[in-house]
């Protein structure tokens, strides 16, 4: 999301009407902007720690929010982008509040994914689009479809099984490249994307060959997009079935 541009009027109203606001933001200036909207904004940044599992951090965030809910406060959690996309705590906090009988809901926001489609001129409906967290793609047997877009999130820390690191090295990304090379040529162009956070920034868009991915600087906030490498293959059997149904319709025998 971009400061000034992407906060919806309703989200802003929730912030203003809350008793306490928790902030999970990606930019210190955006956090300061939020502090102008409410006198009690509590940053969640200090709970991160190198060597500490991020799951512990995310659970602490839920606990912090729930403690205020149980104290009878109206609580608003503000998370950058869309609070429900690649964000564990907002979903869990809402689940926890509802389980204890409190009213809770999520207000959608403009995510990096939304900005990506606009800035890169990609329509996910054109060829289809797969999204994976990069580590999950490595750790589990997933089906990559090279006829559609493939969007990989958090590539900067791909392969971190400890959940306690903020970055992994080129050797980890090399494993990812080798997996991808089963479906894409090594000279396939990949796009490294970063949405603008401040309104004086431009989106970051770099294009490199797949083989170069392990050797470039890649912060955690950057996203890797692989355009399709193969053409869509017509499903002739299904097309024949549909044609037969069309013939039945034409003959006055609705299928």
């Amino acid at each position: 999301m971009t400061l000034g541009s992407h906060l919806t009027p309703l989200a802003r109203s929730h912030i203003a009407q809350a008793d306490v606001v928790f902030a999970g933001l990606s930019d210190g200036i955006v956090e300061m902007w939020l502090q102008r909207m409410h006198p009690d904004v509590r940053s969640l940044q200090s709970y991160y720690q190198e060597g500490k599992s991020r799951l512990t951090t995310y659970r602490q965030w839920v606990d912090l929010m729930m403690a205020e809910v149980r104290a009878g406060k109206r609580v608003c959690g503000v998370f950058y982008g869309h609070p429900g996309i690649f964000a564990w705590s907002p979903h869990k906090a809402i689940e926890a509040a509802r389980a204890e009988g409190y009213a809770a809901h999520m207000e959608p926001g403009i995510s990096a994914e939304d900005c990506l489609y606009a800035d890169l001129g990609i329509d996910p409906g054109r060829y289809g689009c797969q999204h994976y967290e990069a580590s999950q793609l490595l750790l589990f047997e997933r089906r990559i479809d090279p006829t559609c877009y493939l969007v990989l999130w958090q590539v900067g820390l791909v392969g971190d099984r400890s959940l306690a690191r903020f970055q992994t090295g080129s050797a980890y990304r090399q494993v990812l490249v080798e997996l991808l090379s089963e479906h894409y040529p090594l000279d396939h162009e990949v796009i490294i994307y970063r949405a603008a956070t401040l309104p004086i920034q431009q989106p970051g868009i770099r294009r490199v060959a797949l083989r170069e991915l392990p050797h470039i600087e890649l912060p955690a906030e950057e996203t890797v997009v692989l355009p399709p490498a193969e053409k869509l293959k017509p499903n002739l059997a299904i097309q024949a079935r549909l044609a037969a149904l069309d013939e039945l319709e034409k003959a006055g025998m609705p299928a």
């Binding site: 902007w33 102008r36 799951l55 512990t56 602490q60 564990w88």
Partner: protein, 98 residues
């Protein structure tokens, strides 16, 4: 228009300013006596100049992990470190699905 934060919000909300060239935007900012740091950030395309006014904080951005999907997450441990940080223990902890 009083300060840089107001300017950032205004630029983000104005279609002309948001998509103006750096020169055009800086002409507007200069006429309104905006800060040197903001104008340097606009001119150079490097928002790091704003740290002169706002300071600099390293911000961590990850808020999820699908490395261990629901049901495969490690067991919760309320270790000493958490206690030292003064995080109140909940009466009931949302348990992972699965």
């Amino acid at each position: 228009m009083t300060d840089t934060m107001d300017w950032l919000e205004a630029i983000g909300q104005d279609a002309t300013l948001r998509h103006a060239s750096a020169d055009a935007l800086n002409s507007t900012l200069e006429a309104a006596d905006a800060s040197e740091a903001l104008m340097a950030a606009v001119a150079s395309g490097d928002s790091a100049w704003l740290s002169q006014e706002f300071g600099h904080r390293d911000m961590f951005v990850n808020q999820a992990s699908q490395t261990f999907p629901e049901g495969d997450e490690p067991e919760r441990k309320d270790d000493d470190e958490e206690d030292q940080q003064g995080i109140p223990k909940p009466q009931s902890v949302p348990s992972p699905k699965g």
